[in-house]
């Protein structure tokens, strides 16, 4: 079955109210027994005496969506999941704001927690997304993932 890849990208930060609404929307799915949620927040790293004020995220969007589709399909194969939602910010996200929201739901908790953890790692390793760290003095450097 050919599905159009879901768009995981949102312009700007992911608002806490959006996260709450996403949780609320699942209350009708009474087969779900567990949600596992990961939130990535922009951290105010200090490098050489300079502090990160924001990260500007860019992506090779078409490739990221097709890669994400593969990751999603693999997760549903491997884990007994009800639902999986991924949202990643693009654009300038200030320190303290949420830039990644991974939300796995399943009848039982182990599938939800393990799928969520694995998804976060796969997203960070395999999606063509980049971050330009903007310092308080307006200089910048490109983010490297650990």
């Amino acid at each position: 079955m050919h599905k159009t890849p879901k768009n995981i990208f949102v312009q700007g930060a992911i608002e806490p109210t959006f996260i709450a609404e996403s949780i609320a929307k699942h209350s009708t799915q009474t087969g779900i027994g567990a949600h596992s949620i990961f939130l990535g927040q922009v951290r105010s790293d200090k490098t050489d005496g300079k502090m990160v004020q924001a990260i500007e995220y860019t992506a090779y969007e078409e490739m990221a969506l097709s890669e994400m589709h593969k990751i999603r399909e693999a997760a549903f194969e491997k884990y007994a999941l009800t639902c999986l939602h991924v949202h990643h910010s693009l654009g300038v996200i200030s320190a303290g704001q949420i830039c990644l929201f991974v939300f796995a739901s399943a009848p039982h908790r182990r599938a939800a927690t393990e799928a969520c953890t694995e998804l976060v790692e796969r997203i960070k390793d395999t999606l063509p997304i980049w971050g330009r760290e903007i310092f308080t003095d307006a200089t910048h450097q490109w983010k490297t993932n650990r």
Binding site: G40, Y60, A64, L127, P128, I129
Partner: protein, 76 residues
């Protein structure tokens, strides 16, 4: 033949999205060499190449291919 180059991440500070002329029958390795010769800044940065959104592309690069230059990812 003509291909389109899309630089990402730090590479976008050195080169912009552009059309690029290549002889026919070029592999990814040969393309990389050509780009690094044309744009020396690419010699000191690690990146992989995607051909029409596919990494680990083997074979000859097709006409009008979309070539993305991908530094190490940093999402999340």
């Amino acid at each position: 033949m003509r291909i389109k180059i899309l630089p990402f991440g730090k590479l976008s500070e050195y080169i912009g999205t552009m059309n690029y002329e290549l002889p026919a029958s070029v592999t990814v390795a040969a393309l990389k060499e050509s780009l690094q010769h044309s744009f020396p800044a690419l010699q000191t940065h690690s990146f992989t190449i995607a051909v029409n959104r596919e990494i680990n592309y083997t074979g000859i690069i097709p006409e009008q291919a979309e070539i993305a230059l991908l530094p190490p990812y940093a999402g999340g």
